[in-house]
Symmetry: C2
Subunit: 233 residues, 2 copies
Amino acid sequence: MNSYIQKDKYQKDKFYVAVDCIIFGFNKGRLKLLVFNRKIDPFKGSLSLIGSFVNIGESVPDASERILEEFTGLKNIYTKELKTYSTVDRDPAYRCISVAQYALIRINNTIEQIVDDNGAKWFDVDETPQLILDHNQMAVDALRRIEEMARYKPIGFELLPEKFTIPQLQKLYEAIYRRNLDPRNFRKKILSFDLIIKLDEKDKTTSKKGAFLYKFDYQKYKKFQESGYNFEI
Amino acid sequence: MNSYIQKDKYQKDKFYVAVDCIIFGFNKGRLKLLVFNRKIDPFKGSLSLIGSFVNIGESVPDASERILEEFTGLKNIYTKELKTYSTVDRDPAYRCISVAQYALIRINNTIEQIVDDNGAKWFDVDETPQLILDHNQMAVDALRRIEEMARYKPIGFELLPEKFTIPQLQKLYEAIYRRNLDPRNFRKKILSFDLIIKLDEKDKTTSKKGAFLYKFDYQKYKKFQESGYNFEI
DNA sequence: TCAAAAGTGTTCTCAATACACCCATGA
DNA sequence: TCATGGGTGTATTGAGAACACTTTTGA
């Protein structure tokens, strides 16, 4: 007897469906996780990821986009599905499955304001506080995923401002890989991809000499992707 | 106003949750997809992936294990979550999200019998027929995922019998990568991982000379995994 | 004896790594 | 003028890719 059919006739089981977003940023040489400080029940006073129930009239990515915009003011955030969390007792109040999404955003002042207004806060990924339910597990899983992902997709650029310097990019990869990289080899490798464009400006905030700014070449990246790529640093 | 809280108070939206399994096998040098020939409504006479609704008292992986056992008689099948399919109109009959899982199994006679008894059938992945709903998309996505996965995890062994020959393994990788590999380089690379153990038997079904059988060293693979690995062929 | 698949070694090329000094500039 | 971070080149090593012939044996 086949399950699908059997269930089709008799199934009455329905679930709440939530999305929870593991939102990463990069600031002052550190990978950051956005955490929401809950001021109202449920879980008043606790910390959680940014999440919401999914409405019947929207898809999971729609729901994810909705709350990301709400919390950051941004549309078109780089977001990927991590995995589904569905253990029976994961939420004592509801039979709810959560589809976790990880997102990468460029931290800037505008966003900081909105984040702040929403009662959210950045934590160093190494100092993630206790979160509700299985949200700590989600954060750990997402972090492992982006470490893995960084090896073959240029996700780094999603976390930096549009204009960035090579030393900044290096620091980001050092934060993700948790090890130091040789500046000569890093520069050589990054430039060999031919995916960043040198600008005529310098950033002088971190040194007297100043470092040239670059921008990511999304055009070339598209072609790059179509062939099949490899982005190991 | 925060979505999570808002929804917590007012949310009444519940979903059916399904799992659909994209089950891959390998036979006669070809990658195969297991497809279910539906003899009862809904979708009587159509083809679909192997799926089921998730029961309220089980997790998504539980449900997936349940139907995999039902269709193959096997427990402990290699299974990974692919992604969630949740567009509003994906199923005209229900508001249902499906968590797709891909699974790799070793085809053998016992399984063939069970598969047959359940009205399922193997198709070449290149000749996947029309399936119901978004199941074709799932199959395409899963195939892309295992192509990607094969580059850095030794998933190949999940698809071969316990004892296999190096030429068999090569054919499998050729099927996954869709290109021919040099037998000398392939052998050298595979042996360099030191993850397969040569046995004292030969398989003579494909040549007069016969090819030595090997088995996968799961012990070593575990250690391998703990360090961090790379399995590009 | 021969057809058909299994098995084997070497060369070349290129990318990854290791490594140390000069440059530009604001304070 | 000097402290600070930015920027550059070379030599070595190791892995991947290309490539052709011998071995075994059942039919």
